[in-house]
Subunit: 189 residues, 2 copies
């Protein structure tokens, strides 16, 4: 079946998401992507000139989905919004375990584009946290506390993906209780 | 002056530490290292066959120093040990700002050797935290809480290196108060 250009691009990204979910950057070969998509390497390169370009666009698409899937209605109660957002975040982490680990574990070289996508995603979460307590621009101690709590969530996600020695619900509970415990630290100074 | 093999290697690592402190992996050229050391590229490659090998050894040496410099005497009171260790950690972060940011910010490819060094360093800190409260092998909730708190310290370090909008002492205070707030979250379940 011939696909339109947009549909083909979307199909390739979809495939990239599922491949990078189970395998890390180093383990995915561009030949495998073309084969799995049933297209020639030439066509794949038409959409994504290099493996890096493909990867960056897959990461961008993953980030877009993470932001979308963790969105909750304004009308929901704050505690419930947080719990719902966190449960969906963990669902995403489980679904994209391999890329999540590779992206956040740090490595030898930096990559400006992926770093910018990761940072923009964190900023969206920081902005939601600030809005959640009715602030536009929190002062430095609170901003750092929110930032640190995101670090807490990311670090425990990586550990949990490796060991899985705590039930899902207990990890979610740890995350929301950590936030509740940390906010007073920032504001009570 | 002719140096012994060990002394030459140590001199090159020392130089690498100071170069990677101010510039990231991508910004350091192996030619600059040879020039700054006053040695031929051939000699540099004799000690470190590739730029990556050199970088990994510099990271290993940096990690060794971080672990050593944050060590505190057993006889010191626990609160003072924590405060001293954290102040030295922050001093190290400030001194090695560029590499610290590159290493921990995540990127496109993973590197097994640097990832292993980072993980071993975190495990040493986790072991110290556990010993600090008299435990050898904390249960999952406490281990994850310590792990998350390390994530908190790393994430706030990265933010603080970018913005520096909080006095040093206030950041140190935030770190120790965060730990004090988080431990009960893990144990009160």
């Amino acid at each position: 079946m011939r696909l339109t250009s947009d549909a083909r691009r979307a199909q390739l990204l979809e495939l990239g998401l599922s491949m990078f979910a189970k395998r890390s950057w180093d383990e995915v070969q561009i030949d495998d992507v073309a084969e799995a998509a049933g297209v020639s390497k030439g066509l794949l390169y038409h959409y994504f000139p290099t493996k890096r370009d493909f990867y960056v666009e897959v990461v961008r698409e993953a980030a877009r989905r993470l932001i979308e899937t963790t969105e909750t209605p304004d009308a929901m109660a704050p505690v419930e919004r947080l719990a719902t957002g966190l449960a969906r975040y963990l669902g995403f982490v489980e679904q994209h375990a391999a890329s999540y680990s590779t992206l956040l574990r740090g490595g030898i070289g930096s990559d400006a584009d992926t770093a910018a996508i990761i940072e923009a995603t964190r900023r969206e979460f920081l902005a939601r946290l600030a809005r959640g307590i009715g602030l536009d621009e929190p002062a430095a101690p609170l901003r750092l506390t929110f930032r640190g709590w995101l670090g807490f969530v990311e670090a425990t996600s990586l550990d949990w993906l490796d060991r899985r020695d705590l039930p899902r619900e207990a990890l979610l509970d740890l995350w929301s209780r950590a936030l509740t415990a940390l906010v007073p630290v920032a504001v009570s100074r």
